[in-house]
Structure formats: C-alpha cells, structure tokens
Point group: C2
Chain length 354, copies 2
C-alpha cells in the first residue's frame, strides 16, 4: 500500500494484475462496472473534443498488436493490446493489454495499468451502457452466445446497469457454458444452459454475441432474430471476423462507436461503405435517436474504441488513493537540473563511490 | 537483482531509471554506446524487413506526445515519448520516454524500460554510426552547438565510435557550456569553450547541432560551413523546428533515416518534397554511396526513428541477465485456463477468505 506521491514526478503509479483483482474485489465487481459506465457516459457525452484516430495495428500471421491512443486535451491515454486467437491452445490469453495515462500539459505519464482485466470490464460496461439506451424497456432476459473470457463480465454489467436477471447461455464448447454458469452461480441470475443458438435466443430481449474464433463466422442467422430485439455484437472486431448474417444487419438500426474504425473491423464491414449508421455518443447527447419503436431491431456493432480505455483508466486512477492498490515505478528520469541528464548519471556514480 | 523468469509469462522485466543508470555505470557509458551502435548497424542493414510507419503524434499547445511502433516480424517494439520545450522552465525534462518490446508470436510484452536516458544514448549512437560512414576520414575535431541534455552523450558516442578527441562547445547559455565541459572533464577530450557558433566551427571536421528551442531557427548560416565538413543535425526534429539555413542544405549531400518522416520533421521540410536524399541504411548495405569526395559537405538530417529505439531496447534486454538490473512486473493476466479470466478473480477472492 502506497501513498499517492504526486510531487515525485519521476514516479508513476502502476496497477498490476494482482492490484486490479484486489480493486475489483474490494469495491465489488458490479459497482466497478457501474462506475466505469459512469465515466464512459461522461466521456461519450463530450465525444467531439477527443483526439480520435483508428488504432495503429501491426499484423502478423499469428495475430495483431495494436496501439490505441486518444486525448481529451488535458489527459492523454493509450492502450497496448494484442489479439492472438491461437494463444488459447498454448495456455495463453487471446487478448492481453496494458494502458497509460499522461498529463497533456507536461507529457509525463501519470498511470500505468494492466488492462487485460480492465478491458473485459470496460467492454462489458460499454455494452451495457449502449443497451440502456437501445434495448426494449424493461428487458429481463439476455441470450449470450459465446461463454468465454468476456462472458461473466458481460452478464454482470447487464445485471448491474440494465437490470437483466435471466441468462440463456450457449457456446459450441459446452464446458465453457458450464464454467460460465458455475462462475455466475449465486450472483443473482436465473441461468438456462442451452444446446443451440436457436434455443438460447428464445424469449430473449437482448442477444449478446461474444465469440472469439474466426471460423464460426455466422453464429446468428436471420431467422433467429425476432422483432424488437437488441443485439449486442462484441465478437466481430477485426477485418475478416464477423458474427452476424448480413440479412440481420439489413433489418437492424445499427449503432457504432467510431465509424471509420467500425467500417473496417465491425459487422458492417459486410455492408457498403456509405451504409447509414448512428454514432452511439449522439444517442447519448440527444443528437440522434436511439430505439424509436418496440418492433425495431437495434444492433450495437461494438469493436472497442480508445475513448473507452481512456474512461476505464480514468476510473481506475480515481480509485487508487482510496484502495492503495498500486506501486510506484521510477519511470521518468528526473535530474535536479533538467538540462543535466548526464550529470544525473555522474552523481549516481559518485553515490556508488566508484 | 532478479533472475530472468522467462517461464512466468505474466511477468515483464522492467528497467527503471535507476536500473538504467546502473547498467550504464556497470558496463561503462562508452561501451554501452558502442554496443547500441552495433545493434543499430545490425537493424539498419535489415531495414527493409521492418514494419515502418511515421510516428503517431498527439499535438497540444504545450507540446506533443508520440507513439513510435515498429516490428521486425519476430519482435515488436514501441516508444512513448513527449516533447515539451516549456518543461525546462518548470524543472521538468523536455523529453521523457519509455518503451516496450513484445513477442510477435504471442503478443505478450517481454520488456518495459525507461527510455529518457536510453533515447539520449541511442540518439548519440545513431549520430556517431552515421558519421562513421559520412565524415571525412580521420576526423578528430567536432563542434557541438547546443550543450544541453544530449550533448555529453553525443560527445562520448563520437569519441567511442568515430575516434574524435577535440570538442569545440557553444551554447547561447554559457552555463550549459560550462556544465557540459565539467561533466566531460577527465573523460579524454580536449575541450575548447567557444563564444559564438562561428568560433565553434573553426577547424571542425564535424559539426553537431543539438539545440532544443524553436526560436533560434538558424543556428548555422551558410558562411559558417566550409567544404568537406560533416554536419550532424539533431535538433530539427518536428514541423516548424529547423536549425540550418536552407542554403547549407542546397550545398550538402543529405542523408536521412526514413524519408516520409524526415520530410515532415527534419531540416528538409525547408526543401521541395521531391528533393533527392539518400537513406542511411542504403549507405550501410552498400546500396547507395556515402561520402564520395573530401570536398563534399555531408548532412545527416536526423529526426529519430522507431527502429533506433527498437535496437536500443534489444540491446538493453540483452544486458539484463548479466547485470540483473531490472524488476519483474505482474503486467499480464495469466489464469490457469485462459478462457476463465473471471474465475481468476473468484479464486483471488477465495484466497483472501472473503
């Protein structure tokens, strides 16, 4: 447990994986999800003032490594994140991530944090925040297709933020469904384990698709989606990776985070480049309409955007003083005289008595 | 002092500012500079296989924050670096930086390092490596205009890598010159402190310009540069910031790192977009000529490129096992089952006995 040492500019608070788990456990996962959603709403409502750029991706045969920067003019943030679907077979995470916040005024970093767990939290909080604006009023039942690493976070965010209580789970790997159901046991859900996508969507007002593997590219077909449903499509998030049949898209009102990125990475990569979509932030500010009728199918085509990581990092930074869950890293050279960097090394040498 | 724990993939070795100083002192600064130059040569000679992209910059009124990524197909690296000229007045560094290496095959980070000191080292090593190919044979005297945070590193790199021994120092702030001379005292130089740029360049075969402030935009005028000189121009490194009068450029053979970036940021931003320049790596592989006559003025218009940071990070990574100068950070979530991220949190809870 450390004091925040804001006067020591060379020290940068670091939130490790262990710290992040302790923050989540100390505050409570649903409260953390609700808190992140509040920071997300705050930032989505001032969307226009952010520096926005599509992520900077480095592709290889095995996967992708991306940098996702943004800035609100006072605080700069970026996330490093990889996506390697083949990792799971080697006992590794498909996605790992860490992130940084920095002071725009000085350029000094002010936070380094793990973001593997935090990305799962912010993705779930973003999904639930979008659903709050788009789902049919009073929705209680969510189908969740894909029961992997993201699934429990999605379920808990929808419970905490939108009030759903019934979960219908399906995964092509039944052990994933079993594990998800077991992990969520006792957390306030009525859970039905399903044998097919068709069974999972029965009676669901919300359908969340959160699959990872490129080879099951059409996990929802048109006949499975009834009128009035809200679809929360998480898994289609890179070029060549989609989850929904194109016919579903053509029947839906489509909401996205940042169109230049979603048109490359999202479900709408299946549609013409000028196909009309609505930016989610505009629904939140009242500049655009969300759901307008009970019969409408709404689709949140989520790919994840840098501003969401920014919001999540801001939230975590604001929990450090109360929780003490961080360690300070000596990351920034801080000589007494900033023009005398070499002298700092000489003084370290003198201090060693060499 | 830690063991390298390459089996614990959740742990990432972190090299702090203090560790970096100890590595430099333990190995010796000139040997470190020579070592980095060897890694640079190795990487410049396989330039074509790198993923290359201009840096991703976020500009504000106060300065700039940049991400500089690259990859050789096996290792990915990026640097975070800021540039805030006004910081010095507040007792802060103009430039601070840190960097990361990651395994392209898994996307997992494998090194986090401070790069404020390391950037000064790699910039100096790059300058001296370029001069080795471009300066007049047997050069012994270097003028150095600008005696700030980079100056001692430049001097030592040129001594270790090119064999210069005479230094002629000038800075508009005489206290900077005094400090630089004092810091280099006893390190094997004949040092002359000069009262003007004109005096500094007298008899110098190499002229290094390494100033920071935007307002002194022409620190070398045409009449100061005699035939046969090699100019190492470091300070002109962002749009609107140059150090040399355009007439000097027109008399010089110009060598650059990565033309798409240098045309925006370097001295050659003063020239037409199609003005001929030579890429330094081609001189090193023999694909292009370097200096061809004794009378020629050669100019290395250096702005710093991601591959140089990559080389420097590779060098540092290879010193960790022998020096033990790092600490392991718990940066990557590593559940027993990669699909069970939430279960990892539940098990942490169980371990707490909550």
């Amino acid at each position: 447990m450390n004091e925040m040492t804001s006067n020591d500019l060379n020290l940068v608070p670091f939130v490790s994986v262990d710290h992040m788990m302790k923050i989540v456990l100390e505050i409570g996962v649903e409260k953390v999800l609700t808190g992140i959603a509040e920071y997300l709403e705050n930032d989505f409502k001032r969307w226009e003032l952010f520096d926005k750029t599509p992520r900077v991706a480095s592709h290889s045969n095995e996967g992708v490594i991306e940098l996702m920067p943004t800035s609100d003019g006072e605080v700069y943030g970026f996330k490093y994140v990889n996506g390697h679907p083949k990792n799971t077979k080697e006992g590794l995470q498909t996605v790992t991530a860490f992130g940084v916040l920095a002071d725009v005024n000085t350029g000094y970093p002010v936070l380094l944090s793990e973001m593997t767990i935090l990305t799962a939290l912010r993705t779930a909080a973003t999904s639930a925040m979008a659903a709050k604006y788009l789902m049919p009023k009073g929705s209680k039942t969510m189908a969740m297709i894909g029961n992997g690493a993201q699934s429990e976070f999605q379920a808990l965010a929808f419970k905490a933020i939108t009030g759903i209580s019934n979960l219908r789970l399906y995964d092509i790997d039944a052990t994933a469904t079993d594990r998800c159901a077991k992990n969520l046991n006792g957390l306030g859900f009525n859970i039905v384990k399903c044998n097919s996508e068709q069974m999972a969507v029965e009676g669901a007002e919300i359908i969340t698709t959160v699959t990872a593997d490129k080879q099951y590219a059409t996990i929802l077909t048109d006949n499975m989606v009834g009128s009035g449903v809200h679809i929360n499509a998480i898994g289609g998030d890179c070029p060549g990776k989609t989850e929904l049949h194109k016919d579903i898209l053509l029947r839906s009102e489509i909401f996205v985070e940042y169109p230049p990125q979603t048109r490359i990475e999202g479900e709408i990569q299946q549609l013409p480049e000028d196909y009309p979509v609505t930016e989610l932030w505009q629904v939140m500010t009242g500049d655009a309409e969300g759901r307008t009728t009970d019969k409408q199918i709404t689709l949140f085509d989520s790919v994840g955007f840098a501003i969401e990581d920014f919001s999540a990092l801001r939230y975590i930074r604001d929990q450090l003083e109360a929780t003490g869950q961080f360690q300070n890293l000596d990351m920034v050279a801080d000589p007494d005289d900033p023009r005398d960097l070499f002298g700092m090394i000489l003084r370290a040498q003198a201090a060693q008595g060499k």
